[in-house]
Symmetry: C2
Subunit: 348 residues, 2 copies
């Protein structure tokens, strides 16, 4: 059986989760190559072998089959074209190429077939979008979603290690009545909530909010789905929670039947038993692979409305795990080789 | 000038804020009478005088003009009828009488005239509803709101002192790597968010979510307004934040004009300058009297849609301050005396 040589580019919060997820996966891997832009030489243990991280240079991707990128948008913009040129298939976690028409944007439970049409590059969607589309895909298939109103409760790990450290430092400073340090976010995050994730755009929305709008349409393959989002950072370390309100075109059955649909949906765990205080919680979902759905209830204010609460680990299904699942899909379907010789237009 | 004798029933988080707010108000007060159901004898300083808290007994309200109740629903159910019988006008902060047709539910910026029609009892609305209707009233007056989709980010002080203590204890235990105590909420609140406030109803909504639905209609005096809510507890000590999405019947002007409307609205402070990272924040609004509105932006997914972010101090405008403002309104308009001899039907 062919074994794959897999590069992991970037060793931040998501890069390390990629390594851990690869280690647990069933992918036939001959070697992992941790690549970094600085601080090389860190030794990573992977399936009992040791691999030292190397600086990225010309030729780094020459014998790499699949390169999982998680080193930020700027690194992806510079290095992904080079990796593709050198023959690797890139699965990129950044925002750099997601809306590029030549680049599939893939969530394996939702649009696996799109992965086949890659030209050397597949984009991994934004964390807050991934968990929402996994939860909504079975509803959309049956009842056609017209509009989504979503408010998020996003963990600081989405920003990276430095944000986790800052939250902990702020908690410690508060408890010890010290001055509270504030460097990562524009405002204190401990004991606060910030309606501000990523940059503000001219239309008043943040980039994070517009990602949920744009990426949902592309992943679902349906430009008619409308999404309006308010994305909010909360003092949680891991797992994003989302209050999702939807309106469908077709009438939905009763809640019991919708729960049954969710319970059967790929990648979804139904956690909905309010009588016993069971609903998805960030603390419970940390480290888990699935998207957890609960608080499912009809929205009686419109004809075909539904509310639900969706939680998933932003570093796993929201990032590292989804990227690894794309790699698994390529290997399983024998889609690693690009589908055509078409060159990706990076000028879009 | 007539001076009023005012009783404050209950000395929890809200009761103490009522005393502090009364102290700062311009109400002509001859005496405050702190009344409790247990632990009497605590000495309260008020405008330089000392008042000892007394146990409630028959006759406690005999010479009280206005009684501000904040001792929980059960206490209100038992004691408010007695207070009215003894001649006091009750302003009740609990959920006990809010939907009673004989009881006005009043937010002074929104429906002051309703206060005149009281029969000895005025209900103070739920915290999450009050701040939302203050923010939305100027929009509703001009453009008629059809539907509201709201997700809340609610502070633990809404539950009371014991929840503030528990959040702090959980933060300390996490920082010191001790076992995390969990007694007040069914799940840990520190580093978590709980989509669960108040009891669950048969329709899958919580009572808190249904309060936003029912109370908004009553306060706005418009049963056609639809509200669907997801209410969520977050690890914040003070101030509720809300992501509010609205649809209006009439077209709305551009965002600049809506901001101008909000800036002029009674009880509202516009905090909306995203280029300078200015938007309402729970930490900033603690101790403030107003409702803070920001992140105002058109919702382009429907014809007449708008998103906004609304923050206010849940103990002040959400509870104690609004109750005191109702008392001020009654005094100012000379509405302290009931408008009729009609007896309130408590059997509703």
């Amino acid at each position: 059986m062919k074994e794959y040589k897999i590069a992991v580019v970037g060793l931040g919060a998501v890069g390390r989760e990629m390594l851990a997820t690869l280690e647990r996966s069933t992918l036939p891997i001959s070697e992992v190559v941790p690549l970094v832009r600085r601080n090389e030489g860190e030794v990573i243990e992977f399936r009992g072998q040791m691999f030292a991280s190397k600086l990225i240079e010309k030729g780094s991707f020459k014998d790499i089959d699949i390169a999982l990128f998680s080193a930020g948008e700027e690194a992806s913009l510079i290095l992904a074209p080079m990796a593709i040129e050198e023959g690797a298939v890139v699965i990129d976690n950044s925002n750099a190429f997601r809306m590029n028409a030549d680049v599939p944007l893939v969530v394996p439970e939702v649009n696996p077939a799109d992965a086949q049409r890659h030209n050397g590059l597949i984009a991994n969607p934004n964390c807050s979008t991934i968990q929402m589309v996994v939860a909504l895909k079975p509803i959309h298939d049956r009842f056609k979603i017209k509009r989504i109103v979503v408010s998020t409760y996003q963990a600081v790990s989405g920003t990276g290690y430095q944000a986790i450290d800052e939250l902990k430092q702020q908690m410690g400073a508060f408890i010890n009545e010290k001055e509270i340090p504030c460097n990562v976010y524009p405002h204190q995050i401990s004991l606060n909530v910030l309606p501000h994730i990523d940059k503000f755009m001219d239309n008043g929305y943040t980039k994070e909010e517009m990602k949920m709008f744009n990426e949902t349409k592309k992943i679902m393959g349906d430009a008619s789905i409308q999404v309006t989002a308010t994305t909010v950072r909360v003092p949680v370390i891991r797992c994003h929670s989302e209050a999702v309100n939807i309106e469908t075109e077709k009438p939905m059955p009763d809640v019991a039947e919708i729960k049954e649909i969710m319970a059967q949906a790929p990648g979804v765990v139904l956690a909905d038993d309010v009588e016993n205080n069971i609903y998805p919680l960030a603390l419970d979902c940390a480290g888990k692979y699935e998207v957890f759905v609960g608080r499912i209830r009809k929205d009686y204010t419109i004809e075909n409305g539904l509310n639900m609460w969706v939680v998933s680990d932003n570093l796993l299904k929201g990032a590292a795990l989804n990227a690894v699942q794309i790699a698994e899909l390529l290997v399983e379907k024998d889609w690693v080789k690009p589908s055509s010789d078409k060159k990706i237009s990076f000028a879009q």
